[in-house]
Symmetry: D2
Subunit: 406 residues, 4 copies
C-alpha cells in the first residue's frame, strides 16, 4: 500500500467478493476504479455487473463489459487443444486457460484509460493470482498489481460481509452463510473446490455438479456425432460448420446431456500444496478425444510422439501461468507446425458419462490399408525388410548381452 | 535357411498357425522342435496344446507348458502400471508387455534343452516379431531366430490350410474360412485387428468384443469398489488382500461386467505403418486410474511431473520391444524409486463403460487440509509469501517485456 | 538387382570408389548414369570429376556439378547452429548435416532428367547410407535406391582395384595400397575413421589431421576476434559483413591457424555399433561457442533451458538422418522462434587449440546491470521478495519432510 | 524478526561478513549463536574462524569446525559427475553442489545442539539463499531460517564496516574499500562475480583468476595423464589409487598448472535475472571430460542418449537448489543404474588451457573392432541388414512423402 495509485483496472465479476474489493480499493488507495467484466461463456448476465459498478461510483466510461467468447475459444482454448494438453494426466486446464486472456484485456484497458495499476480477486493460496500476475507483468512490466486478498484484513467471511453491509454493498441471502464450496466457470468448464470437497476421501456431493447431468440420469440410448477438423481445429458438428465458441457451446450441450466430463481430482498447485477440485468440462472432454482421433490418421508417428513428450511440459506451463512466456510460445510453434494436415472427421459415441471414438477419416490420411493389410499387399511392404530392421535395432543389445550375460 | 539348426524352441499356442509352423520347422530345418506354451491368463486350456505337440512328434520332455500368470502380473504388468504407461495417450500396452516374458522363458528353455534356435508365429508386418526378437537377442545374443512368416511361401490362408491338411494337422471348421479379425489375449487384455477392422472409419462390430459386455447392457446401478496399494502396487480389492494375478483377474471380472476398457485405436507401429486395433483391457483400465488416484495424494509434485514427462518415452520403449534395454531399466529405476510411499486406498465407481475416482486416502498423504483450507489456516501458510513468489517468477518476464513490448 | 532401372543419379565425387560404382552401375543395371558432384566446401577441384565422368561415357548434359556452399551453410549448417547441436555431448555433426542436402539435390536432378533411381557410395556399416536413403525416400517415396556396397561382391580393396583396372578407371598410386584411414570433408569439417584409428586406446597419429595445425605449433600469441549475429545467424567477423559460406570459410582459416576444433571420439552409430572417429571442425567450433555467447545475453531463461532440453533429441535426429522428418521440423520451428532477438556481438579469444568467450553485448540484451548489481539497485529488485519465493518453492519439500523425516 | 529465537546455527566462514552476522544475530535476536565452519577444500585455514567465534562469545562447545572434503567429493561431486552435469551448456556447478552439504550439516548440528534456527550469509539476489534454504526446509521442515541480508539495514559496505568497528570485529585493510569482485571457493571451483565483472562485454581482468595459471604462462609441453574409473567414479590417476578428495585435489594441481577450466559466463539465476560470473574449475573440467571418455566405450547408446536428455533437467535442479528433492533423487537413481559397468581408463592430454581425450579402454568395453572394421569382419555384421533397417525406418516418411509431395 506504499505507492500512490491513481487508477486501477479491476477484474470485476459483479459478485460479492469483487464488489467488496471495488469499494476497498476506492477507500484504501483513494483511487479511481475501472471495472472490467468479461463474458467468457460462464453463463451469467453481465449487465447487472455494469449496474452494480455504476451504483458504486464507477464512471460509465470506466465500465468495460466485453464478450470475449470467440477470442477465448479461438486463440486460447483451440491452441491448447492442439497440444492435447492434460495436467497431471487428467485435467483439461479450464481455469488456467482463461486467466491469460483476462490479464491481457485488463492491460489493454489499463493502457486505454491510462491506469497505473490492475487488481484481481484471486486469493493468496491459489494458482490464479500467479496466472493473472504473470500475465500482467509479462505484458506491462511496470504495472502496479494490487491483490487485496493478500493485503487486507477481511480474512473471514464474517468480516467481509460486515464490510459489505457497512458500505451498502448488496449481499444476497445465499452469500450470508458460508458457501459449501466455491466455483469458477467459463465456456470450457466449471470448477469447484473448498469446504465440502476438502477431504479427498469424501465423495463429491451431487449438488456440487452444475454443468452435467448425473451419468445415471443421462439418456439410455447413446448419441453418435461427428466433429470435423481443419488444421487441428474443430470447425463443424455433424457436418454443420460453426464458429469456435458456437461449436464449443454445442458440444457443451451434448456433453451436459450425457453426463460427460466430470472429474474429481487431487492436484498439485504451483504454490506448493495439494488441493482437491471437481471439474466439469463437458464439451472440452469431447473435443480433446476427438482431436486425438483425427490426429490418429493424419499425424506422422514422429510428430505424434514428440507432441506426447512435450505435452506434460506444455500443460505445466499453462497450469503455472506461463502462457505469455517464450517457452510456451516455442512449444506452440512446434505444435502448430504439426497441425498443417490435421484435417478430417471423427465419429464419437456419447453415452452415460463417457465418450468414445468409433471412426475417423481424412483426406490427408496416412493410414494405408494397402500397407497394413493381412491380405496380399501386392508388394507394398516387403516382410523381409523386417529382419534387417530387427537385426540392426538388436545389434547394440546383442553387444551388451555378450558383455553382461555371457 | 542357410544355417544348420539342431533344436529350436517354438512359442506354441496349439492353434492352427503355430501347429503349421511346428511341422514346417521339422520339415524345413530337419530339426527337433521344442514347444513352449505359456498360461498368461488368456483363458484357454493348455493341455490340448500339449496333446497336439505330442501328436506331431514332439518328445514329452520337450513340451513345456508353464503357468506364468503371477510372474507376468508381478514383474511385468505391475512395473508398467507404476509408470502410468499409455502409448499414444490411450493404449495400455496389453500385447507389448507379454512379449518380453515369453521371450525370456523361451531363452531359459533353450538353455535347458540346449537348443540353438528359437521361433515364433508373429508376422512380418507387426510389432510382435520385433518384441520377441529384441528379447531373444538381448538375452541370448548368439541365438538363431526363425521367423517363418518372413521366410515361407505359405502366404495365403488357402496355402496354409492346404499345408495343414497335407500334414494331418487338424483344422477346425471356423478356421477354414478367413477369420474376420485376429486376436491376441492375456490376463491384461484382448486385442483384435485386421479384416473387418481395417477401415478406421467403420465402427467395430459388436461381435468383435469378447472380454467386456456392451456398456449399454451393463448394470443400471453403479458399483463402488476400493483398491489398496502398497509401494505402488495393488494388493487388495474391497479390503481383501490377494496375489497380483488374482487381483487383476478380479478386476477383469468387475470391468467385464460394467463394460469397462474398450478402446478403438489407430496407432503407429514401430515398423512404420499405422494400424487400427480394438483393445479390451477391463481390469487394467481400472488399475491404471486407481494408481493415478493413490499417487495424487502420496506423490510429490516434482516426482509426479517428472514421471509424467518420462512416461511417453517409457511407453514407446515398451511398445517398440525394448523391455530388456538399459534405457527402460534406467527409467524403471527412477519410477520405482518414486513409489516408496505410494501406499493407500482409492475408491472407484464403475458404471456403464466408465470408471471414475470418488475418493483416495493414505497413511502417507501429502495432502494437507490445514494448508489448503479456505478457512483460517492458523498460520500454516502465509499468503504474503505469494507476492515474492510471483515477483521473482515474473522477473525474467518483466525484463523480456521491457525489451520486447516497450 | 531385380528391377529394371533406366536412369540413375549417382552422388559422384570423382574419386576411385564412386568411379568404380559408376562403371558397375552401367554394367550391372545396363542403365544410363547421371552424375552429381557437389561443391560443399570440401576443398577439391570439381572439374576433374566432370572430365572423368565424361570419359566414362556419361553424357555432358547428364553431368551435374553444383556449387552448393552458400545453400549448405545458410539452410543446413546455420539452422543446426541455432540449436547448439552436439551429438553425444561433443560432436558438431559435420558429416550428418551434409547428407540431406546431397540427397535433396539428387532427387531434384532425378526429377529433371527423369531418372527412376539414385545411388550413393556409402558403405553398409555406416550412418551415411541411412542419411542418404531416408532423404531420398522422404522426398521421393517411390524412387529406387541402389547401394552398391550392400550389393556387389567387390568387398576387398584388391577386388575393387582389379575391377577398376579391368575397366580403365585410373587408379592413383596412393590408392593402390590400403589407405590408413578414410576421410570425409566439407566446409564444416573433415572426419577420419578406420584402420589406424580402430583401436580407441591408440592416439590419433598426427598425420591424420589435415584441417588444423597442431595446437603446439599454433601461434604463441592469442588472437581476439568478434563475431556478429543477427537473429541467431553469424553475419560478420570483426565487424566485416560476409555471406554465410564466406564467413564460415574465414572462421575455418582462423581455427586452422590456432589448432581449434580437433575431436577424438568414440560414438554410437544409428546402425547399432560404436565407432571411433577423429573430427576437425575449426570454424564450426568457434561458431558454436560464439552462438552460445550471444544467446547468453539475448535469450530468456525459459527459452534457453527448453532449447537445452530439446537439443540432444535434435542432434540425434540429425545424426540418424531424420533431417526431412516432421519431428525435426517441429523442433526447428520451436528453435527458430526463439532466435528473433538473438542479435549481438561476441568477442572470442583463439589460442593453442582452444576458443573462449571474453565478452558479449547486444542491442536486445536481457542482462540488466541495474538489477544484478551488488551495489544499491535503487529499488530495481526487492530482496524481500526472495523470502516468499523460497518459502513457496519449499512448501512441497516441507510437506514431504514432515511426512518422511519426522 | 517477529519470532523468538533461542539458538541459531550459523554457516560461519570467519570472514568479515559472517562475523558481522554473528554479532548481529546475537544483538537482534538476543539468541545464542552456534557456528559451523566447513572445510570443503576452499584452501583456507579454519582455526582462525574458531578463534574469532570464541572471541565473539560463542561457547567452545558451540563452535563446529568440520573437514567435509571427502564427503563432499564422494557423495555430492561424484554423483553429479556421473550425470555429466553442465548448466546452460557450460557451467560445472561448483557453487551449487556445495550448498546442500552445508545445509545438511547445519541441520545435523541444529539437532545436536537443540537449536531452533539456522542462518547463512547469502544475499537476497543470488541463488545461494535458495539452495541453503531449500535444503534446510527439506531436511527440517519446521526450522526457522534467518537470512540477515534480506532483513537488516546494513545495506552498504560503509554501514557494514561501521557496524563491525562499533562491535570490535576486526576489519582487515583490504576489506575497507570495496572489493573489486566477490568470490566463493571449494575443492571443485572458485567463482567470482560482481563489480569489475558486471559489464559482460568487459574482459575478465587477469587478477581475478586465482586457481589457474594463465594458459599463456602454462608449460609449452603437453602433459599426458590417465584417469581410472570404477562404476562411474574416478579412482586413480596415472594408475595410482587415491581417495575422492585426494584425487580431485591432484587433478586441481594438474589443471592449475596447465591453465585448465576457466569459464567466463553469463548465466540465468533461479531468482530471475542474468548474472555474469567467472569460474575456475581446473580438476573438475578434466574429470568431466574423462568421465565422458570412459562412458564412450562402456555405455550403451540407449543409456547414453537417455542420460544426455535428462542431464539439462538434472543440472537445472542442482543449480536451483533442489538437491534434496524427489525428482533429483529419481534422476540420480536412473543415472546411477547406468554406471554399473562404467569402469575403465581414459588418457588425456593437458595443454595450454585445454584438455582432450587421446584414448580410452575398458574391461567392459562395448566397442567391437570386429564389428566396426572396414576390413573383412567375417560375418560379424551383415550389410544387407541395413537395407531392411533403412526401409522400415523410411516407411512412415514415404507414406508422408506420398501424401505431401506427390
Amino acid at each position: 500500500m506504499s505507492e500512490k495509485i491513481n487508477r486501477v483496472v479491476l477484474a470485476y465479476s459483479g459478485g460479492l467478493d469483487t464488489s467488496v474489493i471495488l469499494k476497498w480499493l476506492q477507500q484504501t488507495y483513494g483511487c479511481e476504479v475501472v471495472t472490467f467484466t468479461a463474458d467468457l461463456g460462464q453463463g451469467e448476465e453481465l449487465e447487472p455487473a455494469r449496474a452494480k459498478a455504476e451504483m458504486m461510483g464507477v464512471k460509465p466510461e470506466h465500465i468495460f463489459v466485453d464478450d470475449l467468447r470467440e477470442e477465448f475459444v479461438k486463440d486460447y482454448i483451440y491452441p491448447m487443444m492442439r497440444a492435447n494438453a492434460l495436467y497431471e494426466g487428467l485435467y483439461l486446464l479450464g481455469t488456467s486457460i482463461a486467466r491469460p486472456l483476462i490479464a491481457k484485456r485488463q492491460i489493454e484497458i489499463a493502457r486505454m484509460v491510462n491506469a497505473d495499476a490492475v487488481s484481481h480477486g484471486a486469493t493468496g493460496k491459489g494458482n490464479d493470482q500467479v496466472r493473472f500476475e504473470l500475465g500482467y507483468y509479462a505484458l506491462a512490466p511496470d504495472i502496479k498489481v494490487i491483490a487485496p486478498w493478500r493485503e487486507w484484513d477481511l480474512t473471514s467471511r464474517t468480516r467481509l460481509i460486515e464490510f459489505a453491509e457497512q458500505h451498502q454493498i448488496p449481499v444476497s441471502k445465499d452469500k450470508r452463510g458460508e458457501s459449501p464450496f466455491s466455483t469458477d466457470a467459463n465456456i470450457l468448464h466449471t470448477s469447484s473446490e473448498g469446504k465440502v470437497l476438502e477431504d479427498p476421501w469424501d465423495e463429491v456431493p451431487d449438488y456440487v455438479y452444475s454443468r452435467t447431468v448425473n451419468p445415471e440420469d443421462a439418456p439410455d440410448v447413446p448419441q453418435v456425432i461427428t466433429v470435423d477438423f481443419e488444421r487441428g481445429d474443430a470447425v463443424a458438428i455433424n457436418g454443420e460448420g460453426m464458429s469456435p465458441a458456437t461449436l464449443l457451446a454445442k458440444l457443451n450441450d451434448l456433453g451436459r446431456a450425457h453426463g460427460i466430463g466430470r472429474l474429481d481430482l487431487v492436484e498439485n498447485r504451483f504454490v506448493g500444496m495439494k488441493s482437491r477440485g471437481m471439474y466439469e468440462t463437458p464439451g472440452g472432454t469431447i473435443l480433446h478425444l476427438a482431436h486425438r482421433g483425427v490426429e490418429q490418421v493424419t499425424l506422422d508417428r514422429g510428430a505424434a510422439h514428440l507432441k506426447d513428450e512435450l505435452m506434460p511440459r506444455y500443460a505445466e506451463l499453462l497450469y503455472n501461468g506461463f502462457w505469455f512466456s517464450p517457452e510456451r510460445e516455442m512449444l506452440q510453434a512446434a505444435i502448430d507446425y504439426s497441425q498443417e494436415k490435421v484435417t478430417g472427421t471423427v465419429r464419437l459415441k456419447l453415452y452415460k458419462g463417457s465418450v468414445s471414438i468409433t471412426g475417423r477419416k481424412s483426406p490427408h490420411s496416412l493410414y494405408s490399408e494397402k500397407v497394413v493389410t493381412f491380405e496380399d499387399d501386392q508388394g507394398a511392404y516387403d516382410q523381409r525388410d523386417a529382419e534387417g530392421f530387427i537385426k540392426l535395432n538388436a545389434l547394440r543389445l546383442r553387444l551388451l548381452g555378450r558383455r553382461d550375460h555371457a
